[in-house]
């Protein structure tokens, strides 16, 4: 089974003063992978500047815009349509013997190959001496431990917008125990990495038609690498495995690698930005 | 050549030329006033006000008594005055710095020496008895710079840009001097029956433009308002004339944009038009309304400079 998706991404930017020079880079195109295909992109901006399609340092598709005239307002609109196959998160033998996997994660080669997603970054560092009441239980399988971690993270943080920023570090999240999907994901990644399981931050869209919790903009969840199984998506904000409702754009070590919009604006004074994202799906 | 660097070279040329004109104006006015044939022209206040007027910073309060040392310091060595010679030289050097890889070592070294000379000139000496030494050194050093520009640079676009800067500035400064001296001639007429057209100020003006000797050779008469203006504005052979400067700008813009027929938005087209206007003008037309003429030419020069900026420096 598959779903036909349509996503509309809009942003409006207004500036108090003339902007003489500006660059934007959008990292918002749904990626092509095993379950997402036939991605069609329509992108436009209100100044009719060229839309430069490119690939960023981590290999994901971007759109760069560099208007050649001065302006006080610019709007962007993107429309994506694509096919998303149904995902069964449990499509692997759940009774897998974990002895091999547990050995594998201790090997040096494994640590080197997955170095990027095992290291601590400023956004995924647990402060020294943090006592969180969660530990991996060696009696459980890796998968069970991760499911427990998902559950624990979901319960540890209360979903609340406006408390944290995109660059809020975990020490503050742990102190307030409030945050949004980025914070859930950062905490989940940090805990997973601490236990030797490679974890990466995923940025994408969430189909909220079925009542899932997320921002009205972009969503974030995690993917972890389970030896002998592969990368598996966990959404700690909703305490579920990533499924057909999770549209992946890109992944990275943390939010910093995945920022959906980067802007370099040469102007003074205030600016206002409005976003809206609409995700629609239709089962085929 | 990079657009930004071309802009720097253009302004390097302008600032070098500007510093020289200010220096000569100070020098000639100050020293020729000392034994001027009429009281007004000898008057210290009159001379100091004329200097400020030429610099574009006139003293508006007629009753104010200006202090000579303050005025000289402000025009010469005050780094807080953006129009001062020292500020101008600093800007010339700063512009040269960022284009250092494009100009010759010889030219850069000469600019650098020039800068250090001005920067290290003792302030106390300057305002008391260094005016002549300081200003004549500036005139000499800028002459060396012109020599290095002509003699050590490739006569390509780099040279053309600098020469355009120099000549637009020269035409501008000569016009400002004319404006200033015209103003002085109006103010000083009447004393000792000196009429406007035979004012002593015309001689001073020619000296400020280093054109007195050649003017005498050309007309073989004492300068009058008409002959002076004709010589400094319209004579294409006078190296300091507005006409000559426009011819030079016209010649050099062709190196940057060698098209035979310019489109009407180009710098070449605009320069050609302005040049043609003065080429076929006679001095009596100008004399009818000198004030309007001066405003008109300054306006044209600003437009040319803006056009250069738009066509070559902005991408």
């Amino acid at each position: 089974m598959s779903n036909e998706y349509k996503i509309t991404y809009k942003t409006e930017n207004t500036y108090d003063n003339w902007v003489n020079n500006a660059y934007w880079q959008f990292l918002i195109i749904p990626m092509e992978n095993d379950t997402q295909h036939d991605v069609n992109v329509e992108f436009s901006n209100s100044l009719f500047a060229d839309n430069d399609y490119s690939i960023n340092g981590f290999g994901f598709k971007t759109i760069r815009v560099h208007p050649k005239i001065k302006f006080k307002q610019i709007n962007f609109e993107a429309q994506f349509s694509f096919i998303k196959d149904d995902i069964d998160p449990f499509d692997f033998p759940l009774d897998l013997d974990d002895t091999l996997a547990n050995e594998r994660i201790k090997e040096l080669d494994f640590k080197i190959d997955f170095e990027s997603f095992l290291k601590r970054t400023p956004l995924t560092s647990l402060p020294e001496g943090t006592s969180t009441n969660f530990e991996f239980n060696s009696a459980n399988s890796i998968f069970e431990n991760l499911q427990n971690l998902n559950d624990w993270t979901f319960n540890y943080i209360q979903f609340k917008a406006g408390v944290t920023q995109v660059d809020t570090e975990l020490k503050d999240v742990i102190a307030s125990r409030q945050g949004v999907c980025q914070d859930f994901t950062h905490l989940f990644c940090a805990m997973s990495r601490k236990n030797g399981i490679p974890a990466r931050y995923v940025s994408g869209y969430l189909n909220q038609e079925h009542g899932l919790i997320g921002d009205s903009q972009m969503h974030a969840w995690a993917e972890v690498y389970i030896p002998l199984v592969g990368w598996k998506g966990f959404d700690p904000t909703n305490n579920i495995m990533a499924n057909t409702n999770h549209i992946k754009v890109c992944h990275g070590k943390d939010y910093k690698d995945c920022a959906p919009l980067k802007g370099i604006i040469y102007s003074q004074g205030q600016n206002k930005t409005k976003y809206s994202v609409k995700v629609q799906s239709q089962q085929q | 050549m990079l657009a930004r660097v071309a802009n720097n070279l253009f302004w390097m040329g302008r600032y070098i030329e500007r510093s020289e004109h200010i220096a000569r104006y100070l020098n000639v006015n100050y020293f020729s006033s000392l034994d001027a044939p009429n009281v007004k022209s000898q008057d210290r206040q009159f001379v100091l006000r004329s200097m400020l007027f030429m610099l574009g910073d006139p003293e508006k309060d007629d009753a104010k008594i200006l202090k000579e040392e303050d005025v000289l310091f402000s025009i010469g060595l005050d780094t807080n005055n953006p129009f001062s010679i020292i500020s101008t030289v600093k800007l010339a050097r700063e512009n040269a710095n960022s284009a250092r890889d494009l100009i010759s070592t010889e030219l850069y070294e000469a600019i650098n020496k020039f800068y250090h000379f001005v920067l290290n000139y003792p302030k106390g000496v300057f305002v008391k008895n260094g005016l002549h030494d300081f200003t004549s050194n500036i005139a000499e050093m800028t002459a060396i710079l012109r020599g290095k520009i002509r003699g050590t640079l490739l006569h390509d676009s780099v040279y053309a840009i600098i020469m355009m800067g120099i000549n637009i500035e020269r035409a501008t400064q000569i016009t400002r001097m004319i404006n200033s001296k015209y103003n002085d001639a109006l103010l000083s007429q009447g004393s000792h029956g000196d009429k406007f057209s035979k004012s002593f100020e015309w001689t001073t003006l020619l000296k400020c433009a280093e054109s007195y000797d050649m003017m005498r050779r050309f007309y073989k008469k004492t300068p009058t308002s008409i002959s002076t203006l004709e010589f400094l504005i319209l004579n294409p052979n006078c190296p300091r004339s507005v006409m000559n400067s426009l011819n030079q700008v016209n010649e050099h813009v062709r190196i940057l944009n060698p098209e035979k027929r310019y489109n009407k938005e180009s710098t070449g087209f605009l320069i050609g038009r302005v040049r043609a206007e003065y080429e076929f003008k006679y001095i009596e037309e100008i004399e009818v309304d000198i004030k309007a003429f001066i405003e008109n030419i300054l306006d044209s020069l600003v437009k040319i400079s803006d056009k250069v900026d738009e066509e070559f420096f902005n991408y």
Binding site: Q25, G57, F58, R64, S116, K119, I264 | L256
Partner: protein
């Protein structure tokens, strides 16, 4: 002290503890310096006072200066230049040259490896922490193949001569090593001041650096480009090395650009000229990784070019040195250089590393604890000279304290023997005489696919403060013309 019958050296004081580059241990002038010594002796000290001030003025007028920012004004300073040249004989130079090339090659292979298969980590030659803990390791460079396989096109190797008379490497600089323009300026200045001495020596030229650099930069052009358009990118005229940037651009005959002169369109890089956009193919960048592209790295960088890294990764423009080279000039990597050389080249290191004792290894820990008074103890994770203890300056109590700290967390510390830089006669302004001063040497190596070149000269830096071992220009250091003699 031996008798030196030479007027200008009559007050030269020789400290027997130090290795003097021109006098042997018995106080006799070394053969290679004899002629120079005689010629200098024909002058009086007042000649030097005079020549010295002329040389200074010449640097000043040429604008070979850097800026020092004071409270309310900007001052221009020259890098002090010393009139007494350093001579390196052909055999010694041979070691330095081969050693510099060997290190550059090994580092290049190391960089390729850690951005590809990471074999050296898997074979446990160097620990994985070297990469995970390095802020200079760029994940974005993983799997990227730079043109010609070259990462460190330009390297600067800092070597010193220890009192045992052997050369040791202190540091490999493979980000944006600077100083090469001073090598050439120093030569020019010395020729102007004392041209007579050059008649007596067969000295290698140093003016061929720019042509070699340009040849290299053109050789690493992107695929499909016929005649590459090369530029040098500078942070701008307020950068302390701006003179060098403009010097290199000028002598190579290429444009010197700033970030704002470039822009990226369709993953190609263009510069803004008076005739419109012009494509750029190779960029010799004198801007650190973190500043080259605000969309990929530090967003607050006003020096870089948005989109540059994407253009680089696509292979449409070459950056020299390649992004991510910084990881290999970290202090920790240095300690593994002998192993790195052996691993990739299967050769013994030609230049010595200063030996490093890792306190994490029990036998080395034992040695360190027994020899603290002759060692420098450095924390592995601190930069900028913090937490360093120099053994021979410590009191008994302090030694005990350091021992305790090491025993508590041996992994945190490494130790190195205290190195003594050689000294060279140097003209000192304040005393108007020649005195012993510590010197080092920075060599400049150019590495291409089929090319290796070491500038025959290098920058000899002098610590102008008596007894000071730090030769950095920011610490009041000067420099000397350095002669490499022909065989």
């Amino acid at each position: 002290m031996a008798n030196i019958e030479n007027q200008i050296f009559s007050s030269y004081q020789k400290n027997p503890e130090l290795y003097d580059e021109i006098f042997d241990s018995e106080g006799k002038i070394k053969e290679v310096y004899q002629k120079l010594f005689d010629i200098y002796g024909e002058h009086s000290i007042s000649d030097y006072v005079n020549l010295n001030s002329k040389a200074k003025a010449s640097f000043f007028n040429q604008g070979i200066t850097f800026q020092v920012y004071g409270d309310n004004d900007v001052q221009e300073k020259i890098f002090p230049f010393d009139l007494f040249p350093r001579i390196i004989d052909p055999d010694e130079w041979d070691i330095i040259e081969r050693g510099s090339i060997q290190r550059s090659k090994a580092l290049n292979l190391f960089l390729w490896d850690i951005y590809h298969d990471k074999k050296i980590l898997k074979d446990k030659i160097v620990p994985i922490d070297l990469i995970t803990s390095s802020a200079n390791y760029l994940d974005q460079m993983n799997g990227v193949n730079p043109p010609g396989g070259i990462y460190n096109h330009i390297s600067g190797t800092d070597v010193i001569k220890h009192k045992d008379g052997k050369y040791y490497v202190l540091e490999d600089n493979i980000r944006c090593p600077s100083g090469v323009s001073y090598v050439i300026c120093n030569r020019t200045a010395l020729k102007k001041a004392l041209f007579g001495v050059f008649n007596h020596y067969q000295t290698h030229t140093v003016t061929n650096y720019a042509e070699n650099l340009l040849e290299l930069l053109e050789s690493v052009k992107p695929k499909g480009v016929d005649v590459p358009n090369v530029v040098v990118i500078t942070p701008g005229m307020f950068n302390s090395a701006f003179y060098e940037h403009s010097y290199l651009a000028k002598t190579m005959g290429v444009e010197l650009v700033e970030g704002r002169d470039l822009f990226v369109e369709n993953d190609f890089v263009y510069m803004k000229t008076i005739k419109g956009p012009e494509k750029v193919d190779v960029i010799y960048r004198r801007i650190d990784d973190q500043f080259i592209d605000p969309l990929e790295f530090r967003p607050d960088s006003a020096l870089g070019v948005p989109g540059l890294f994407a253009a680089y990764k696509k292979g449409n423009v070459t950056l020299a040195n390649a992004p991510g080279t910084g990881v290999a000039d970290d202090k920790a990597v240095y300690t593994y250089m002998p192993q790195i050389i052996k691993y990739y080249l299967n050769e013994e290191p030609i230049l010595n590393n200063v030996h490093t004792y890792h306190c994490s290894r029990p036998d080395e820990l034992k040695y360190v604890l027994e020899h603290i008074h002759e060692l420098v103890i450095k924390p592995v994770d601190e930069a900028g000279g913090y937490g360093i203890s120099i053994g021979n300056t410590l009191t008994k109590e302090e030694i005990e304290k350091v021992k305790l700290e090491i025993k508590e967390s041996p992994r945190k510390y490494v130790a190195q023997p205290i190195m003594s830089l050689s000294v060279h006669p140097t003209y000192i302004d304040e005393t108007e005489s020649f005195e012993q001063r510590h010197v080092d040497l920075r060599t400049f190596t150019i590495l291409g696919k089929d090319k290796e070149f070491v500038l025959k000269g290098g920058l000899t830096r002098v610590a102008l403060k008596r007894g000071n071992l730090i030769v950095n220009s920011s610490q009041g250091g000067g420099s000397k013309d350095t002669w490499v003699l022909k065989k």
